[in-house]
């Protein structure tokens, strides 16, 4: 690493070099002056073949060839400051201190090279390093950073220069050689190639939701070399996310998902530009965010945001790659692609909020979301690299649990679609909470009156005899209160089970209904009241989550 101009070396004659710190009668071949000549080249080859090298490397060979160096012309002895080995500084520390300012060239000798050291925030991490060594290592990294940036992101001039290079049969490209090396394994796939990789590099993809679907899809897209990724989320990482949201790790619990994702994606591919959008996507900000991108991945977890994203993509003419997953099944489709249907063409009316479950309520298997997110990434890469779609006009159904994977042909665009049809009535974002009858976080109305309810404290202090837990049996199997019986909500409201064993003979004895969060238990109370009007049913406010927070912090939450 040169620290100052070394043009004065041109005044030296062959063979000039510095003393080797380990054996000063030899010269060190980290730096030497030699006149290029075919004659010397042939003589060196001959010597290498005949005698080899006494140290097995270049230094032994050159010292044997220019063997008069140590006792010959002293003018061929270049000052040590042109070839300073910082690792050896401990051998004569005062000299290193005294001459430090005069060092012209640093030679990082030995097996441990500067790039082997950890470097962050201008500091090198390493043990037993002298102050000088540290200084030189840090300087090396600073220069390397500049070189890397220049090399990986060539300026327009450099690109023009490389394209005009004469005598080389290279197609002009926006990709650098390191990029071609890095993405080679996907570039040699039919359908990608050089144009495909260039297409990825210039593309801007928006990922809405950095949860179970956004994590794998953004990871693959960053790794694949998509030029710009926009990342939308307004949530922080929670321990219950970690089984499926694979960008986030334990140390990021409580960290904003956008920050967590950016640090992981930057580690995967530092050349991708990552744009944070730490917002809840809504009708007032969606258009201005989505319009900055070429393609949108819907990785959200609720119908309300899905309709919002769809409408904005139609209005802005953006392709929408939509993924969804619940329990052990997932769905993938591409909407608004080259005249194909939009999300509303397939789902003109929103699902009933009462029956739409999210991952908190219904659960989801991590690998299922991994499959769905990966399919979304594969589809985005295909569209951006080859301008063809695998899932436009199709709905991919994946159910790894039951071994089902099916593509269903979807209906074409609806001429009467309210947003993409011939006479659209939705020409700007609408009130999606009103449209879906439910927001991102469901608002539950209390079905029960106060007299029909009991708090967790009151339940604890009562000597209850009849406690029905309406959670699914798999949840009941994870944890349950003492002396409770499991009658799953779906069985209870559909009258699939005989309830009579759970109904006391004495109608005055209260029957308590319990669920996870205190919602289904209210519906169950209403259902039972209609069936057994003489009896007394009460729901437990806050459910088992309330039990954990108010009564027993050791009772598991999931």
């Amino acid at each position: 690493m040169p620290l100052s101009n070394i043009d004065d070396l041109f005044q030296y004659e062959e063979l000039s070099a510095c003393r080797d710190a380990g054996w000063p009668d030899c010269f060190n071949t980290g730096l030497f002056v030699l006149t290029p000549s075919l004659e010397t080249y042939k003589a060196l080859i001959r010597r290498a073949c005949d005698d080899g090298s006494f140290d097995g490397g270049d230094q032994g060979l050159l010292n044997a060839h220019f063997s008069t160096w140590s006792h010959g012309d002293i003018r061929k002895h270049i000052p040590f400051s042109y070839n300073v080995n910082p690792n050896a500084s401990y051998t004569y520390l005062p000299a290193y201190k005294h001459f430090a300012d005069q060092v012209k060239m640093v030679h990082f000798l030995g097996a441990v090279k500067p790039w082997h050291y950890q470097y962050a925030n201008g500091r090198v991490q390493g043990q037993n390093l002298t102050e000088h060594t540290l200084k030189f290592l840090e300087q090396w990294h600073k220069v390397a950073d500049i070189v890397k940036q220049t090399y990986y992101q060539p300026t327009a001039e450099m690109k023009a220069g490389s394209a005009k290079k004469e005598g080389t049969n290279v197609v002009p490209t926006t990709l650098t050689n390191p990029e071609i090396l890095r993405y080679g394994r996907q570039m040699i796939v039919d359908g990608v190639g050089l144009p495909g990789q260039e297409g990825l590099k210039k593309s801007k993809v928006l990922i809405v939701g950095l949860g179970a679907l956004g994590c794998p899809s953004s990871h693959y897209l960053a790794a694949a070399g998509v030029g710009t990724l926009g990342l939308v989320d307004d949530d922080v990482v929670d321990a219950s996310n970690l089984h499926r949201q694979i960008l986030h790790s334990e140390k990021e619990i409580g960290v904003h998902k956008v920050d967590s994702a950016i640090s992981r994606l930057h580690a995967v591919n530092q050349h991708v530009s990552l744009i944070p959008h730490k917002v809840d996507l809504n009708a007032s900000n969606a258009l201005s965010i989505i319009q900055q991108y070429d393609l949108v991945l819907d990785c959200t977890d609720n119908a309300t945001t899905r309709y919002l994203i769809n409408d904005c993509c139609v209005l802005l003419n953006k392709v929408l790659v939509s993924g969804a997953a619940l329990r052990f099944e997932g769905q993938v489709s591409t909407y608004n692609y080259k005249g194909g249907p939009c999300y509303r063409c397939i789902n003109p009316s929103p699902p009933d909020p009462e029956t739409t479950l999210n991952c908190f309520e219904a659960g989801v298997l991590g690998p299922v979301t991994g499959v769905v997110g990966s399919l979304q990434a594969a589809e985005a890469i295909k569209i951006l690299a080859s301008d063809e779609s695998a899932y436009a006009g199709k709905l991919m159904l994946v159910c790894p649990w039951d071994g089902i994977m099916k593509a269903i042909k979807l209906r074409p665009r609806r001429k009467d679609c309210v947003v993409c049809g011939d006479n659209p009535t939705v020409t700007s974002p609408i009130d999606y909470v009103k449209f879906c009858g439910s927001g991102k976080n469901k608002q539950y109305s209390n079905a029960s009156t106060e007299s029909e309810r009991i708090t967790c404290r009151q339940l604890r202090d009562s000597s209850y005899k009849h406690l029905i837990d309406v959670r699914p049996s798999v949840e009941f199997g994870i944890c349950a209160l003492e002396n409770s019986v499991c009658v799953p909500f779906m069985d209870l409201v559909s009258d699939k089970v005989d309830l009579s064993p759970h109904i006391p003979e004495d109608p005055a004895e209260p029957v308590y209904l319990l669920c996870r969060a205190g919602i289904n238990s209210q519906v169950a109370v209403q259902h039972l009241k209609a069936k057994y009007p003489e009896h007394c049913f009460k729901d437990i406010v806050g459910g088992l989550m309330g039990w954990t927070s108010d009564i027993d912090p050791n009772f598991p939450m999931y």
Binding site: D301, D352, T356, N358
Partner: protein, 82 residues
Amino acid sequence: MPVVTVLYFARCREITGKVQEKVLLPETVSLDNILTELAKVHPALETLRGKLTVAHNQAYLEGSVQLQSTDEIALIPPVSGG
């Protein structure tokens, strides 16, 4: 009357408690009457009318079709989670 395979996805699975089953169905079905037929066995399917995709042999069902015993019907409500 043909006995066809009916596949249930998402919410339909919760309602029926089944991944798939064989159902005796009329020879001609349409988007309207297929749900009526299946709701005879699983009444709660009626709540999904107009809110799901019905596929016949892996393609969306439109108008009416003639069913054969080798046919496959799939009820596919949208999934929103992620």
